[in-house]
């Protein structure tokens, strides 16, 4: 009796799964048709070297050749993306972005302004709860941790942790990859330095991080230039504090000239999450939804992994064994990521408030 019930139940479950698979496949087919009818997708702020977006976009174009992809302003920051949505409210031309890739803090902000269209991709359930909006307005897409990109032609001993950076051998070497008063990446850098000194995430780590950079500056090790591939290679900023995916793809692009080592610090490992969203005023909503389906499918997520970003469904995909071994090997050792701290939105905002307002006074603008 139990056995039969068991079989009946599992058969029902299997039937339901198959039928939902059929219904979602039908949904997908309908979505594809609608998207192809729209014929266009407009993206914004997707540099080709960031998380392998170049290949991700190429993959999308190859899969759906009827959809033209307009890429607006790869240099845009998250605030620019939201401003583009606001400015294009009444515009249905190709200047209006359909899809957004913004910092975590911008998700709720955009939602409160009514700039986002809710949508739950078919793989919704495998996205962790703490990085998505319950109603589907925004959802985490990838994350990375802060690391040091070191030009080993110029810097002979690798720093292993934040405290190493204070040593005299790194004089005039350390740079952030952005302006800590405006750039998510740079603010996370200061936050991470604070966490390394033992402070709790949030405002405390912000203060501690500022003090660290003040010391770094006083020791003469801090270079106020914005660190990029060019300045790393040329030698103006031989150590750049970068997201690991940027550091790794930068290392690849330089191709050994100069050789670059990417070091995840032993302590103070902080992870930053970005989120995807569809614009509420998107001229091509079906193409936008299809893009999301593509990004959150295994194919899209692996595309990001190839660009050294940890896709948000990473743990789920590893558990199911769909991640190729060579991609796993190309990443920094997993042990480093186990210590990663994911600051909550409140902690991020608190830290940001402290860092952006006090950077000038604590660290001291040394360009007077």
């Amino acid at each position: 009796m139990m056995k039969r019930t068991g079989t009946a139940l599992s058969m029902t479950a299997a039937f339901l799964m198959v039928s939902t698979a059929i219904s979602s496949a039908q949904d997908l087919a309908a979505l594809e048709a609608a998207a192809k009818a729209e014929g266009m997708l407009t993206t914004i702020a997707l540099p080709h070297d960031w998380c392998g977006y170049g290949e991700v976009i190429a993959g999308f174009k190859a899969k759906y050749p009827e959809i033209t992809v307009n890429e607006l302003n790869p240099d845009a920051g998250s605030a620019d993306e939201l401003e583009a949505v606001r400015a294009n409210k009444d515009n249905k031309g190709p200047q209006a972005p359909d899809v957004l890739d913004i910092g975590l803090a911008f998700g709720p902000q955009a939602q409160s302004e009514g700039l986002l269209m809710p949508y739950k991709v078919s793989t919704w359930d495998s996205i962790p709860d703490n990085v998505k909006d319950a109603d589907g307005h925004w959802y985490g897409d990838y994350y990375g941790v802060l690391s040091f990109a070191v030009n080993t032609d110029i810097v002979k001993t690798l720093p292993t942790d934040w405290s190493d950076l204070l040593k005299p051998e790194y004089a005039a070497s350390v740079a952030l990859a952005g302006d800590p008063r405006a750039s998510n990446q740079a603010i996370f850098g200061v936050h991470a330095a604070g966490l390394a000194s033992g402070a709790a995430a949030g405002a405390a780590a912000g203060e501690a991080g500022l003090n660290f950079f003040a010391e770094l500056n006083k020791a003469g090790n801090f270079v106020p230039t914005i660190g990029k591939s060019g300045t790393l290679a040329q030698g103006a900023t031989p150590i750049v504090i970068w997201w690991d995916y940027n550091a790794l793809s930068g290392r690849d692009a330089l191709n050994g000239n100069p050789p670059v080592e990417v070091v995840v610090p032993a302590s103070g490992v902080v992870a930053g999450v970005y989120v995807q969203a569809i614009s509420a005023y998107a001229p091509h909503p079906n193409a936008a939804k299809l893009w999301m389906e593509y990004l959150y499918s295994d194919e899209g997520q692996l595309g990001w992994l190839k660009g050294y970003c940890h896709p948000i469904r990473f743990n789920d995909m590893v558990a199911r064994g769909v991640v190729p071994q060579e991609l796993l090997d190309a990443l920094p050792p997993a042990a480093a990521y186990e210590k990663a701290v994911f600051p909550t939105l409140d902690e991020q905002n608190a830290a940001k408030g402290v860092i952006t307002s006090k950077w000038d006074s604590v660290v001291g603008a040394n360009v007077q």
């Binding site: 307009n70 583009a84 515009n91 249905k92 591939s229 060019g230 000239n257």
Partner: protein, 263 residues
């Protein structure tokens, strides 16, 4: 006169040194793409890209259109204000200085808000409309330089007397502008044209957000996270823009001008 020339050569030499050194620094770095040897690898990666030629061509056409519209807009206005409305000059000068301190991103978002597909002037709806909008944006960006150059040129000639003389000979306004004023401020117009050309070729924000295939966004796409390619691109863009300006200079010799003043 001999002493004059000595100092001239000194100033010229200092100027040339100051301007060439950073360019040499960039060039030397761009040659380092292959480890240990100087090579042209970074240049190969850049020049044979078909998008390079397409986007550069587009930007050149936009630059020429911007120059023409800019000259047609600014020369008559500056002339007229100098002649008849001298009290407006301060206002005009202030307005033409504004594009220098207003961030271009505010301008472009303003355009999108005002001239989108649901507005009274739906310029963003068509490619040609967006091209025109972009060109007007470029005219605005180059306004400070164009105006200042032309105003300097007009100051150097006696506008009032020339106009009276032409009118007494029976010339209408168009004739005065085309055959009397324009040739006399030609050098100034050329300066303004050079400045405008350089601005349009390198401009990024307007083109990127209006979704037009210009050279600026292409440079950004290629150079964003690279080390050697942007340096090569900077050198190439510099050289090609210089070449285009030399062409403009050569073509301009066929334009009507007064005989060169001996100094």
């Amino acid at each position: 006169m001999k002493q004059n020339r000595f100092w001239s050569w000194i100033f010229l030499a200092i100027g040339v040194l100051y301007f060439l050194l950073p360019l040499i620094g960039t060039f030397e770095f761009s040659l380092k793409m292959r480890r240990g040897v100087y090579s042209l690898d970074a240049y190969e990666a850049v020049i044979f890209d078909p998008r390079f030629q397409a986007t550069f061509g587009y930007s050149v056409m936009m630059a020429l259109a911007t120059i023409v519209v800019g000259v047609l807009l600014v020369v008559p206005t500056a002339y007229w204000v100098r002649l008849r409305l001298p009290s407006w000059r301060p206002v005009l000068e202030f307005v033409t200085l504004l594009p220098l301190v207003i961030p271009p991103i505010v301008i472009v978002f303003g355009y999108i808000r005002l001239y989108n597909t649901s507005s009274w002037l739906p310029l963003t709806g068509t490619a040609m409309g967006t091209n025109i909008l972009l060109m007007f944006g470029y005219v605005v960006l180059s306004l400070p330089y164009m105006y200042r150059a032309i105003d300097t040129g007009l100051r150097a000639i006696d506008v009032g007397t020339l106009t009276e003389a032409a009118q007494s000979l029976g010339a209408g306004w168009i004739t005065i502008m085309w055959r009397v004023i324009l040739p006399n401020v030609f050098v100034a117009v050329l300066s303004g044209a050079f400045l405008t050309f350089a601005i349009v070729i390198g401009e990024f924000v307007l083109a990127a957000l209006l979704n037009r295939p210009a050279f600026g966004p292409y440079l950004q796409l290629i150079g964003a996270n690279r080390a050697y390619e942007p340096a090569a691109l900077a050198v190439i863009a510099f050289a090609i823009t210089w070449g285009c300006m030399a062409l403009i200079q050569v073509v301009s010799r066929f334009a009507p001008r007064p005989p060169a003043q001996p100094h």
